[in-house]
Symmetry: C2
């Protein structure tokens, strides 16, 4: 089943804002068997919106739009959708109540532009938005064959609405009698092709109601086992069998059995053991601390970090031996080990990770080219280290080294 996404907003065409909504939608619907057919990004302009919607609804049973629903703009989008789906604007008391709640939460005064957001086309069904003032709107064509869902463009509102019911309503609307099952494994320490080889037999024997989806990111593979069938009992049995088979074959590489971000996995794992975490970062420059603290609740586990860009900070604040820096260089196993142990001791943490490397574009040598990174992970039972050769430019090296350092600690626990 293919569907289409339309992203509405001048700010996207100007390059002022990067679209993350289409990815969010694609990832949310994929487990239910939906494939994104195409994505169109168009201006806040009646003709552009109408043309894109008409084109999409002609080709796809499901069209999702985001954006064009701000207090100053939503008349254009709503008017355009009414010109296609019919209806007229009517005041919706429930939407108005929601707007008042949102404004009260933000400590803001209602204004007339915002009140207008409670005017909703009579041709749509409202999906309440608990994350913002603009409701999502569910339209259907006269023959009921096609659905268009219009959502606001603010990313955390889009994500919230998808989670809050949009995805499940789509699943129910299009496949009311089908059972859908998913199981995600997070796998590391093996390449995608080697994993596929390992699972080749399992995959060949797979029942047609089941499907393996490989979702690789640098350092990690998410393997999702999708199941879809009208025979609920049979599907559950087949799906469980396939999962068991994966567990048996890939056991050594599985680090999680649900789809959570690596940072959350690490924080949860440490929280369960009552361990506190610190980081000592040279080439990653605070990126590990930043990625961890983007997760709310990080403060239960994460005590802090020392970003030791200068050698004096490695020595003074982390207690690395200056003679070792002189003898082995800052990018060395000895130094990264002392950084990890030093930060744990000095910040009072049970566990730590440390990085020291050459992110580039300058600073590489024949012995230690750009991308050379030593990472260390320290736990109460000891310290392990690993030498990485990270490909790509500066930001990719930083991100990959951050991921590998967190993975090393996760595997050491």
């Amino acid at each position: 089943m293919k569907f289409s996404i339309i992203i509405i907003g001048d700010e996207l065409l100007l390059g002022q804002v990067t679209d993350t909504n289409s990815g969010e939608i694609a990832r949310a619907l994929a487990p239910f068997g939906w494939q994104t057919g195409e994505i169109a990004t168009v201006a806040d302009d009646e003709d552009a919106i109408r043309e894109a919607v008409n084109r999409a609804i002609e080709r796809y049973p499901l069209v999702i739009t985001t954006g064009g629903l701000g207090p100053t703009k939503d008349d254009i989008t709503k008017r355009t959708l009414m010109s296609i789906f019919g209806g007229h604007l009517e005041f919706d008391p429930a939407v108005f109540e929601n707007i008042k709640v949102i404004f009260a939460k933000r400590g803001l005064e209602l204004n007339s532009l915002t009140k207008n957001q409670a005017l909703v086309p009579t041709s749509c069904r409202v999906l309440q938005n608990h994350f913002g003032t603009a409701p999502a709107m569910w339209f259907e064509t006269n023959d009921k064959a096609r659905v268009l869902i219009s959502m606001p463009g603010v990313p955390f509102e889009t994500a919230g609405l998808l989670r809050d019911g949009v995805v499940s309503e789509i699943a129910r609307r299009f496949q009311p009698d089908v059972t859908i099952l998913h199981k995600t494994y997070i796998i590391t320490g093996i390449t995608e092709s080697a994993l596929a080889e390992l699972l080749a037999e399992t995959e060949t024997d797979l029942d047609p109601s089941l499907h393996f989806a490989y979702l690789p990111t640098p350092g990690l593979i998410r393997l999702r086992i999708d199941g879809k069938d009208t025979d609920d009992a049979r599907l559950r049995r087949m799906h469980a069998e396939a999962c068991e088979s994966v567990e048996r074959v890939a056991r050594d590489f599985i680090i999680a059995r649900e789809d959570v971000p690596l940072e959350q996995l690490l924080l949860d794992n440490l929280a369960n053991r009552n361990f506190k975490l610190a980081t000592a970062e040279s080439c990653t420059g605070g990126n590990i601390a930043h990625r961890l603290t983007l997760r709310s609740g990080a403060s239960n586990v994460f005590v802090g970090s020392v970003v030791s860009y200068a050698n004096e900070v490695k020595e003074g604040t982390l207690g690395v031996n200056p003679a070792d820096i002189a003898a082995y260089g800052a990018v060395s196993e000895t130094v990264v080990r002392q950084m990890a142990e030093g930060v744990a001791t000095r910040l009072g943490a049970d566990c730590s990770v440390a990085t020291s490397g050459i992110a580039g574009p300058d600073g590489g040598t024949p012995d230690k080219p750009v991308g050379t990174v030593w990472v260390a992970a320290h736990t109460p039972t000891g310290t392990v280290t690993r030498l990485l050769h990270c490909p790509g430019n500066r930001s990719r090296v930083i991100d990959r080294a951050s991921t590998e350092a967190m993975l090393l600690l996760l595997k050491s626990l």
Copy 2:
């Protein structure tokens, strides 16, 4: 002048990769008077590419595609483009030389798939790619009225090619006799609407060859003064006059006279004064250090950071007085000031920034709701502080507080 962008790649439709190329292209061409008409994201599939290209080339004089040129995929894209623009594949020795140079730099062995990238349609002109193995290709319709440029999809290759000549070739091709001038001011401490009011008279009197573009980002406004005319001497005079007028009226708010990222502006400014920088981050969790160290050359200025998430780290590593944390709370002017001064002293830096706040979603109180952040900037002449109320969710609060802390230091220098 409107143009169209086509982003090719299954990984984008799957939501595995976020498209940043379209924004890069839009921002690069905007100063030359080009507006993005629409962006289409399509699969690595012959029919999808052909349909999108045909549609775009019919409507726009310029079409730019990115992606679909990897070693395993480029036969599809090239074949599709030849079905539209004609020609056949021919070995291009200069492209092959470039591939060999790139592989040697990366220490990799050539393989046959990569050699195929040197096969180029005879109907295009090659624009050499010094950042990767796939060349950019410049096609024109038979009547020479329309141009399609096919570029590889790796973001730093796209950005490099745009900078390296694609943008200037487009400018020359479409407006050979026109002089184009730009001047960007970075402005802070004033809202966009107040700035527009301040500049209203200047803007009303503006010669038709000139145009003001306002490019706001949280905490900053970029004001670009674009000029375009066939009379070179006259345009230069008018453009200089408009810039003088902006300087006169908005002087108090201008912090830079060229378009550079805030982080680079701060690093350059500190480098010019031979100052070293440290950061002490609580709620921003290392994001300031991360943003600074994403810039190559940061190590000349940035010595390091202490991410003091736990109060014990604020006290032990930064020397904040525990009695003050108890009396005023960690999110207070007193504490953030001590953090800034403590990190400068302990890490041996001349300047520093510090942050302490409530990023949410938990931790807010009626007195200090989510988004309350104290920032401090320390220089050899003293320490200044500022109280922020940052809107939005956790990641927006973190990012806004990081920006404001850097701005506060920049203005204190």
